[in-house]
């Protein structure tokens, strides 16, 4: 049985010299390009899992390879015969969000600097696929990273009671039911004039409401009416950075009071969505405004990756 023996390559041969030079050049440049256009490469990497990369190969294999052989091999893969449909590209990026935030957030839950807010806003926008920011239309809350605590259900209309407030399924949830209902109205009054006039939107707004200290917003006292109207049902993304659990909420009440040590209040449903409904029912969260002019992002739990197909306009 004959065995083909490869001739050893001399270190100073023209081949060895050129290969060493070009390999170094290629690796360094490739690293630079990936860093320079990091957001776009991460995005495509997340959208198209490794097993899908055979189709296009041009970007995929290049992204996945750490050294030359795979990179070169990519150029020889067969022509694409499959075009994956966009809906197949959904990827849950929750772990990625947690990873990103771990490197950006301070150890203590404290107000973020403007630079930190900008960086985190940019990261969350990219991860979630829609634009979020700590400041919107020149308005902001007093902070964007703070402790959220559990609130009660709010009366949606005069006469709303626990037995009419919850569906049978919700009533069967011990936490949702035992949270009870606040005795008064929210800061913006009832969500609907009466039960018969209550729309699906009203139901969702109460279900996914947060209480935010709008009264502590910068410039609030200079234009109380303007702020009051702007904050009413304003959509925000609230996120538990430890777990990546996130929920799209609306500001449905003002609070909590400063002495409580909490910076935000969440409806029972919001607290469940954030995984903060057990134990102390309190935890550090990020809360950023959602630039959803066309009202396309529905209220309720959301995962990074749900809106992969909405490419942010940054």
């Amino acid at each position: 049985m004959s065995k083909k023996v490869k001739k050893p390559v001399k270190e100073n041969s023209q081949y060895a010299q050129l290969k060493k030079k070009w390999l170094k050049k290629h690796k360094e440049f490739r690293r630079e390009v990936r860093q320079k256009h990091r957001e776009a490469f991460e995005w495509i990497g997340e959208k198209v899992p490794a097993k899908e990369h055979v189709a296009g190969a041009a970007v995929g294999a290049l992204m996945l390879s750490n050294a030359l052989p795979a990179t070169i091999a990519a150029a020889f893969l067969p022509e694409a015969t499959v075009t994956p449909q966009e809906q197949d590209l959904h990827v849950d990026k929750t772990e990625l969000v947690v990873e990103h935030l771990a490197s950006m957030l301070p150890k203590d839950v404290r107000p973020l600097s403007q630079t930190e807010e900008a960086l985190i806003g940019q990261t969350l926008s990219a991860d979630f696929g829609f634009t979020v920011s700590a400041e919107l239309d020149g308005r902001r809350l007093n902070r964007s990273y703070g402790f959220i605590g559990a609130e009660q259900h709010l009366m949606r209309y005069l006469g709303d009671l626990m037995h009419s407030h919850l569906s049978a399924e919700e009533a069967g949830n011990k936490y949702i039911y035992s949270s009870g209902m606040a005795p008064g109205r929210g800061a913006w009054g009832f969500f609907a004039k009466s039960k018969v006039e209550m729309s699906e939107q009203d139901v969702e707004r109460e279900k996914w409401y947060i209480a935010a200290p709008t009264f502590l917003a910068p410039g609030f006292m200079d234009n109380v009416k303007g702020h009051y109207e702007w904050f009413k049902y304003r959509k925000m993304l609230v996120l538990n950075p430890k777990t990546g659990q996130a929920v799209v909420v609306d500001i449905g009440d003002a609070g909590p009071a400063q002495w409580t040590g909490k910076h935000l209040g969440g409806s029972p449903e919001v607290m469940m969505a954030l995984g903060l409904h057990t134990g102390p029912r309190k935890g550090g969260v990020l809360y950023f405004f959602i630039g959803d002019v066309d009202n396309k992002i529905p209220l309720g739990p959301v995962k990074a990756g749900d809106y992969n197909l909405v490419i942010s306009d940054k």
């Binding site: 023209q14 070009w22 050049k25 256009h37 776009a40 995005w43 070169i72 990519a74 490419i311 306009d313």
Partner: protein, 112 residues
């Protein structure tokens, strides 16, 4: 085995570099490997030249089009978003080719 045809393959080639490579003392196997390396690097350079001209949104669209290797869509998108995109790709490739040819010359000179 043929080289994969990229969306820019009709626009740029490494012929002048390959001619320079032919003057080196390489086995056919070595030559093939070095050529592959040059093509891989060219691909990176062209990617960077294009991505550097696009917004984040358009970078994503470009990479998605590239991933699915739809040449028609790639060109349609690039022509809409980048002025004289073909010229920019050619320029980037030309700069690389000059650099690679110089590398080959230096290796040849050093081994004399």
């Amino acid at each position: 085995m043929n080289m994969k045809k990229h969306f820019y393959s009709d626009l740029v080639s490494l012929d002048t570099v390959l001619v320079e490579l032919a003057t080196l003392n390489l086995t056919s196997e070595e030559k093939k490997e070095i050529e592959e390396l040059a093509h891989a690097h060219l691909h990176e350079v062209i990617l960077d030249a294009i991505l550097s001209e696009l917004s984040v949104r358009d970078k994503k669209i470009f990479l998605a089009n590239l991933e699915y290797d739809t040449h028609e869509k790639i060109w349609k998108h690039l022509n809409e978003k980048v002025e004289n995109v073909e010229g920019k790709i050619k320029n980037a490739a030309d700069r690389l080719k000059a650099e690679l040819r110089e590398d080959v010359k230096q290796v040849k000179k050093g081994s004399r």
